[in-house]
Symmetry: C2
Subunit: 254 residues, 2 copies
């Protein structure tokens, strides 16, 4: 039996033409066969959204040795689901979201389409990772993270991940990365989230903006501490969101 | 100082005109002052999605004693964020999503806009609950769950919930409910998720469908066991999704 190279499925939420996904493809080509199924337009903040009110369409954009790229009209999660069902001819060894243009650490995991990709892969039992760079610049420099991304992907290909878990990897913007920290998800809250740009004197129009307010001092085990100190932050994520302590406490409620 | 009735913020993902949210308003009117800020159209499967590529608009639909209803152009999470920022004049005592037309138990928590509402409330530090009936019928009968919903809401108003936790409540379709079980999230996977309705002979169009395959036998502590046996299932949910055991294991990886 022929030895097959690892199959890596890549999607994102910035869309198939974003720089981050192109850079990721180039970084990972040496590690396996790449299939990209990514949204045909930006879908930032998609979280785990799925498309249920209309059909979803996909189309091959280009195919060369070791890389095939498809665009899809659906959400990031749709892309993963459709790739697994209709596009790939075998189960991938890895599902990767990214590289996102923007920070998905801390509580942002709940809004992130990049992590939607990783969580969907994980729900399908496939080792999965979301990669994000802490910059929204369309032309951001992804290069400093490259050796770390390759190292993390190779480790997960070699070791796998336990059931019901995936990785949320965030990379700070610096050319002097300090290494990798395995972290817990930071707490803290978004504040001042809306900016009112009145439209024709109608003051009920708002743009989502906001600032993230950390709980200070930063917990040295948290992903925000790692990022603030120049480390690549790996936050292991579980898809079993049961609050077990509360589950036990509530047994006496009813 | 005047004693204020509890303020309850309600949203959903089926849209402001859905039967489920109307029924919920009627059920909860005796328990507090109600403000509804809900999507202007169905947004099922929205998960924690937020709107970042366009502004969001809201509009008052009706106001009577104890109830104000607004529609909003955004996602369920946008509705909660905008209500807290621009519409409510005080922090609500409770944020509630639902009643959803459809099951949000088990792994569906990751796709659910109803739970998107509850998770957003929770991220803002407010006790929050998502209610779902296990029926997609637009004219489903929500009445059998009514006393349980009121009991759960009153308990949470009285006792609160610990930080970083909220409740995912699912109600089976039966007129003979057996009571309440506090559960853990069922494992299992969606399968056969796409149906291909070729459009003009283009076979790249797919509708999201699917069947949920449970791990059998059902764990008697799981929400799917509770629902299959006629119980209202309360699954406590945490927004700290750190996989702590994996976090510890991975400290030696790098």
């Amino acid at each position: 039996m022929e030895h097959q190279r690892p199959l890596i499925l890549i999607s994102n939420d910035d869309g198939v033409v974003a720089k981050g996904i192109s850079e990721l493809i180039n970084m990972l080509r040496p590690l396996g066969e790449i299939v990209v199924v990514a949204p045909d337009a930006p879908r930032s903040g998609s979280a785990g959204a799925i498309t249920v009110t209309q059909p979803v369409h996909y189309q091959l954009l280009r195919k060369e040795v070791g890389v095939a790229v498809y665009k899809c009209s659906g959400t990031p999660v749709d892309c993963v689901k459709l790739a697994l069902h209709a596009i790939l001819d075998r189960t991938p060894d890895l599902v990767i979201g990214g590289i996102n243009h923007g920070d998905n650490s801390g509580m942002n995991v709940h809004y992130s389409g990049t992590m939607g990709v990783a969580i969907e892969g994980c729900l399908k039992g496939i080792p999965s990772i979301g990669f994000s760079l802490c910059s929204h610049e369309p032309n951001a420099n992804f290069e400093p993270g490259s050796p770390y991304i390759r190292e993390i992907v190779q480790k997960v290909l070699d070791k796998g991940l336990p059931p019901l878990t995936c990785l949320n990897v965030n990379i700070p913007v610096t050319t002097e990365l300090q290494g990798i920290k395995v972290c817990k998800q930071s707490k803290g809250k978004w504040t001042n989230e809306w900016e009112n740009f009145a439209h024709r004197n109608d003051d009920h129009y708002y743009w989502l903006v906001g600032e993230f307010a950390d709980e200070l001092p930063l917990d040295p085990q948290s992903d925000h501490w790692a990022l603030a100190n120049g480390y690549v932050a790996i936050t292991p994520v579980t898809v079993d969101v049961t609050a077990y302590p509360l589950m036990n406490d509530m047994q006496t409620w009813f």
